[in-house]
Symmetry: C2
Subunit: 209 residues, 2 copies
């Protein structure tokens, strides 16, 4: 085979399996859900034998890690867009949250894989992925540019975590509840998302103003 699949160093025998496998995996995950993604199906899709993937990934879970990595990169792209939008800094925090939830709604299966992988690697103490970390930093920086005090390490971290939690919670929630009535009443999905994200302050009642 001399297909010359337009890969930079034109590395292997096949063209560039590994890349082909990851792409096939992402496609299958997004099409039929994470549960339906079998190693054999991925190999089939890529046109290789069921054992071929084992020369590029030690495990099925390592393939899923690669899929998750792809997801974090896409999320980072969505963040970039929201961060560059021309809104006032405080609004930008909220818009980042909206962008996050919209990403999860656009790629529900991918989103699930991203978090499943994080969970399964939680045994290592204080381990963080690069991409996961970069997304975290991005939120943190927007908070600072929105007026948070960079010197208050603890407060800043708590705020970042809180943002993340609310956005992640809402993202998961919208994946199995439609809230159609609410959305209609509020005049659209965006209004709904902003509404929820704005309202989380209820937890703060009685503390911290």
């Amino acid at each position: 085979m001399k297909e010359a699949e337009a890969a930079d160093p034109r590395p292997y025998h096949h063209g560039d399996l590994r890349r082909a496998l990851v792409e096939a995996a992402v496609r299958l995950v997004e099409a039929d859900g994470p549960g339906a993604m079998s190693l054999r199906a991925v190999a089939r899709e890529a046109g290789v034998s069921p054992a071929a993937p084992y020369h590029h990934f030690k495990d099925k879970s390592e393939l899923l890690d690669a899929v998750a990595h792809e997801g974090w990169e896409k999320l980072d792209l969505a963040f970039q867009a929201a961060r560059d939008a021309q809104t006032s800094p405080p609004d930008r925090v909220r818009e980042l949250g909206v962008a996050y939830v919209r990403f999860a709604m656009a790629h529900p299966a991918l989103y699930r894989v991203m978090y499943d992988c994080s969970r399964d690697k939680a045994d290592m103490p204080a381990h963080v992925h690069e991409n996961e970390e970069s997304a975290y930093r991005r939120v943190r920086n927007v908070l600072i540019s929105a007026g948070a005090d960079p010197a208050d390490e603890v407060g800043l971290e708590l705020a970042t975590i809180a943002c993340w939690c609310a956005a992640h919670g809402l993202a998961e929630m919208t994946s199995f509840k439609q809230f159609d009535a609410l959305k209609a009443e509020l005049g659209g999905e965006d209004a709904f998302l902003r509404g929820v994200l704005s309202h989380v302050g209820v937890f703060a009642r009685g503390l911290e103003r």
Copy 2:
């Protein structure tokens, strides 16, 4: 076999399989994680053949539904305790959140199953489980007793959703990040949880007071 397993109507042949299966399933899930729970292992644990469960559950997923149901009931118990605690109504909202997260931390695998099941049944339009719904109502009622306006349907629902999202997000987060440094700095886990839940107000900056 005439074991007479102390079941109310002493219903079946075996004693009360179904109950035994659900309990074995919960045990296995909590012990080795949701992924390690196989139908055959559950049957083995209960001392029956691999096909026996199919007379009580149409699917593996239906067994998992039962496990999830068990989980929602346990969560409801934890809520009950937090709701009956002698705290001022506004604090009670936050303590409900803390109780929720503590439940998730105490039963991480069960918690995961609860949400995986909800997700997988999201195809039905506007379908809600009874237990899921009851937990939802409970939060809503505490919000009302904490001073929320019961007449403002939309606002109340948004607030309930927001509480839920923040708590669920934090619950998931703590399942794969330890936050040990932060907890130490704040003087304990409870302080950490309260800190995050109190801080979610950042999303509200620029909107809603």
